[in-house]
Amino acid sequence: MLETEVLLTALLLILAAGASMVAFVPSRKIHLLRGTALFFTTLTFLCSLLLVSHFDSEIDTMQFVQDISWFDVGGLHVRYHVGIDGISLFLVILTTFLVPVAVLASWSIEEKVKSYMFFMLLLEVGMIGVFISLDLILFYVFWEVMLVPMYFLIGVWGGERRIYAAVKFFIYTMAGSLLMLAAIISLYFFNEAQNFDLVEITQKLSSGEIVLSPLAERLLFLAFFLAFAVKVPLFPFHTWLPDAHVEAPTAGSVLLAGILLKMGIYGLLRFCLPMFPAVSVQLAPAISLLAIIGIIYGALVAMVQPDIKKLVAYSSISHLGFVVLGIFAFNFQSIEGATYQMLNHGVSTGALFLLVGMIYDRRHTHLIEDFGGLAHVMPCYAAFFMVIALSSIGLPGLNGFVGEFLILQGTFLENAGRAAFAASGIVLSAVYMLWMYQRVFMGTLQNEKNLALPDLNWREILILVPIVILALWMGLYSSTFLRKMDTSVQKVVDRIEHVREPQIYRVEYSGH
């Protein structure tokens, strides 16, 4: 058992080694740089699979835990405390899966390959770090570390308005995370042990060792919540997303949609619900309302976008609305569905951005009106796009359906009206996706520039095939994933249930 404890740190170390290797390769050796990055990210993915095989789904505490003192200055006890449970396990795997795919999709990057690959590896360190940190300061450090490479990926390798988009992305997220930092610091003062340990603080909050006044509890919740809501992004904190996506290079969009947005959701599940269950319950109606607005609003705005990438970006807002809705329904099915839907969205929206990137590499545009009739010249591409589009709109048998169904079923058990409104998103997603598909792939070839477009090459097929297999697997045999989540999801649900009934009494009596 000794060696499994270091697995998580090993992932970070492999990536760090990769990053320093990249730093030593001369910058004109483009192929070697790409190869090195691909090798190390793939190696990370393979190692991360060990996590799945060694994961014990019966245990309800953190696994693969490593807890070392990082620095003790004055009263500050900051620790390097990492570990995962059933919720973060597959988020780590999703990260390690998507990064090599994104590297492979970055062959069209010709300029400054060295720093590009360096940032990719650094980004992966940050992303994995966020999902495995169990110390608040460590978490915050990774949270911010991740911003930097993404800022550069958008700002250097992005499209025309890349500077605007990069700055907007950075400041928007930063504004949220500063609130979170303030909340982390004030939690430290409430905690007599004077450390930032997430597990310990959550434990003390639930056992009543740390008592927060209702106002403090509410403010802390809101501080965390806003940081995460921007990241998700929840309506109306979403306007950075379309800009960032349109301007980001393909790999940036893939990781932004696939992983970064999940951090907001992950934060809600890991911080807001377990630490402040009472406030979560109180504010659930309002948050659910925002989520439902996001579902419908995102879909309607996606429908009228002239740009495929923007369409996919707005569709993300709609999809993540479902996830937030599921989390704040506090029901086993809805939370498990939301956790599952995070993975599904990472796979299908990530793949959609990959696909858009493939056509962008050929035509240097992602405006819908520049296309039409592509199925004639690129039948293979059209077929892959169809499958992924169907997975995104939740066709049963593919991955998206399982998550969406569980979320809505769970939400329905909690509150039928919410689920009914949210279900209208099912229709709207078909509208925007199929309408776009029709305008891009069906009809006759109008634009002369599209007449001689080459179909997918082997590298691109190699990228897409695993994703399609994964989409089918997750859609047909969800037990592989869900069984590993059960215990951790149950823990979150129990935590909410625990405050829910007494909560009613407390509110009633405090009124007198």
């Binding site: 009228v304 086993f332 169907l390 049963p396 809505l408 079923q409 329905f412 078909a430 309408w435 069906m442």
Partner: protein, 649 residues
């Protein structure tokens, strides 16, 4: 075979995968052979299963097979498992049987088309999805097939994707169906909340414990059944969601025959029959089902009378016939609905295949006004279409007669039926006879009008396809004649089908004491219906054979009415204007351009530029001159001094 009947589901999936992935490299023969043989094999297994099935004692005729757990979350479980009982047995026989015939027909019909592999792989996928829909043993798995057949329908309607209209029709079909599907899925949510299971047999057992008698008032069962019915109106093209089916005729004709006539569109009827234990306990919903069914039957029959496109006539006819089936299940006559579903599958598939031959012979001409006199050229098509027309019109002894009479009788005599249902039903029967014979007369009789239309492109006369294509015609014609004998009315014999299906309709509520209903006997009412049918035929004969002038004079006299019918009561235009355009405009102008770009992002960018303005103002403080800094320091010192001085009091 009874142990492993489920393999019949998987075989077409195999065909789909092979043809779909490698089909582009295969020759046409390989594609066709692979595709037809997989469905043929499925049908064969189906027949063997049926043979063993009917030898089982009646109470053993419910066989479940579970393959694996599909979704499990907490107490919610949906297995990938199948249920073979008399109802699904009948359905799967129809699906694989008619499916196989249409695969064979397609081999030649599609021979000249691009993307042969695409067509056949989609068709195989359809058979797979339809089998899942029919054989699923829980609502969620049925939903997989339900949306899956919708997908295949989408792909096949859009088969000629370079045509704008085909793309539009495909998209419309999928989206309209999805609207219904939302109803269906919310119904599933409610089923799970009420019964904590999605598996049919568990749900039915629970419901018969919870509600031993039909409920009074519109309760949870009313809500469940109504929501499921919304799903059915989408898939089975009933009011208000029928609008996609006529457009779906953009797909290849064999697809119209298989998906949009014989099998997929009947899924809604099947779903209600499958949920009979729920529906019988919700009489309010059943009344709505019957009323929607009969209204749709009437509306579609009216529209069919004036259409000029041969496939549109058949499409509206299908909608109308589906309306009959909903009338049947709506009055609680579930086996009558399934009976008509079966006979309709034969004669309507045949009619579509016949229309396909006509269209092909005339080089893709679909306008009835440009046909005529074809009986000389297309002998087999001519005879078989006659048979099918006699069947659909309900001429005695043909299959459609028995199933339609059964429905009309039940609409009148069942405790849930009434005279009005029967009356409108008979009226629709007359209209059906009229528009179908109008079609026959316009296509096969009278002057040859296709020459004028195509004088430059048709040097030789229209010809019929080769012998392979005739086999499906013969077989379907045979069943269009004899299929009705499995369900004879009481005054002629026994209804074997009803007896066979009975085990599927267990878990019914205790029947309330039925008072004697109605004054007329079944045979008398049948006689009236037959007379009305013959009147319809005679009217068509008068208008389209005897005196073509009358038609035009009538159209001119009642031009407003004629226009209304010809333009399909402007329903499409209304939907387009009310829903499509307004939502699109609202999303673009209000949500996106105003709220998103101006309000929300305006707030964000506004904050940023406000900060910028402030910074610009503040940066003047740092001018770099020591004297300015000294002034600031002095000012600050004074302020601090003043603060302490004033607070010291």
């Amino acid at each position: 075979m009874l142990e492993n009947y489920w393999v019949l589901i998987l075989i077409p999936l195999f065909g789909f995968a092979i043809n779909g992935i490698f089909g582009r490299r295969f020759s046409r023969q390989v594609i066709a052979w692979l595709s037809c043989s997989t469905v043929g094999l499925s049908f064969l297994i189906c027949l063997l299963t049926f043979w063993e099935f009917i030898q089982l004692p009646v109470d053993k005729r419910t066989i479940s097979r579970s393959l694996f757990t599909w979704i499990q979350s907490g107490n919610l479980v949906s297995e990938f498992s199948f249920l073979l009982d008399p109802l699904s047995m009948v359905m799967i026989l129809v699906v694989t049987g008619v499916g196989f015939l249409i695969h064979v027909y397609s081999v030649e019909y599609m021979a000249g088309e691009e993307g042969y592999y695409r067509y056949f792989s989609y068709l195989n996928l359809f058979i797979f999805m339809m089998s899942v829909l029919v054989l699923a043993d829980n609502y969620l798995l049925m939903f997989v097939g339900w949306e899956g057949v919708g997908l295949c329908s989408y792909l096949l309607i859009g088969y000629y994707f370079e045509k704008r209209s085909a793309g539009d029709a495909a998209k419309k079909a999928f989206i309209v169906n999805r609207i219904g599907d939302v109803g269906f899925i919310i119904g599933i949510f409610l089923i799970f909340r009420q019964f904590e299971s999605l598996e049919y047999l568990t749900v039915f057992r629970t419901v018969s414990d919870q509600f031993p008698e039909p409920t009074a008032g519109f309760g949870v069962l009313g809500a469940i059944t109504l929501l499921l019915f919304i799903g059915a109106t989408g898939k089975s093209a009933q009011i208000p969601l029928y609008v996609w089916l006529p457009d779906a005729m953009e797909g290849p004709t064999p697809v119209s025959a298989l998906i949009h006539a014989a099998t997929m569109v009947t899924a809604g009827v099947y779903m209600i029959a499958r949920s009979a234990p729920l529906y019988t306990r919700a009489p309010e919903t059943l009344f709505i089902v019957a009323a929607v069914g009969i209204s749709t039957a009437l509306l579609a029959a009216l529209i069919a009378m004036a259409q000029r496109d041969i496939k549109k006539v058949l499409a509206y006819s299908t909608i109308s016939q589906l309306g009959y089936m909903f009338l049947a299940v709506g009055v609680g006559a579930f086996s009558a609905g399934i009976f008509h579903l079966m006979t309709h599958a034969f004669f309507k598939a045949l009619l579509f295949l016949g229309s396909g031959s006509v269209i092909l012979a005339l080089h893709h001409e679909q306008d009835l006004m440009k046909m005529g006199g074809l009986r000389k050229y297309l002998r087999v098509t001519f005879y078989t279409m006659w048979i099918a027309t006699l069947a659909i019109a309900g001429v005695p002894l043909f299959s459609g007669f028995f199933s339609k009479e059964e429905i009309l009788w039940k609409a009148y005599s069942s405790p849930l039926g009434n005279g009005a249902f029967w009356f409108v039903g008979v009226l629709v029967a007359g209209l059906t006879a009229f528009y179908m014979f109008r079609l026959i007369f316009l296509v096969f009789y009278g002057a040859e009008r296709f020459e004028e239309a195509h004088h430059e492109s048709t040097p030789h006369s229209p010809t019929e396809p080769s012998s392979l294509i005739k086999v499906p015609f013969m077989i379907l014609a045979f069943f269009s004649i004899v299929a009705g004998f499995v369900g004879l009315p009481e005054y002629l014999g026994t209804n074997r089908l009803e007896g066979f299906l009975a085990p599927s309709f267990r878990y019914m509520p205790e029947p309330a004491s039925v008072e004697e209903h109605g004054h007329f006997s079944e045979s008398h009412l049948a006689l009236i219906a037959i007379l009305v049918t013959f009147f319809g035929i005679a009217a068509a004969y008068q208008l389209y054979i005897r005196d073509r002038q009358i038609t035009e004079r009538l159209a001119a006299r009642f031009s407003l009415l004629y226009q209304l019918i010809w333009r399909k009561f402007f329903v499409d235009e209304m939907y387009d204007w009310m829903l499509v355009r307004s939502i699109r405009g609202f999303s673009r102008k209000i949500l996106w351009k105003s709220i998103d770009v101006n309000v929300i992002d305006g707030l964000v960018n506004g904050t940023a530029s406000l900060m910028q303005t402030w910074s610009h103002a503040l940066k003047r403080m740092q001018s770099g001159y020591a004297r300015v800094y000294a002034t600031w320091i002095l000012g600050g010192a004074i302020l601090i001094f003043l603060y302490y001085y004033l607070t010291s009091f």
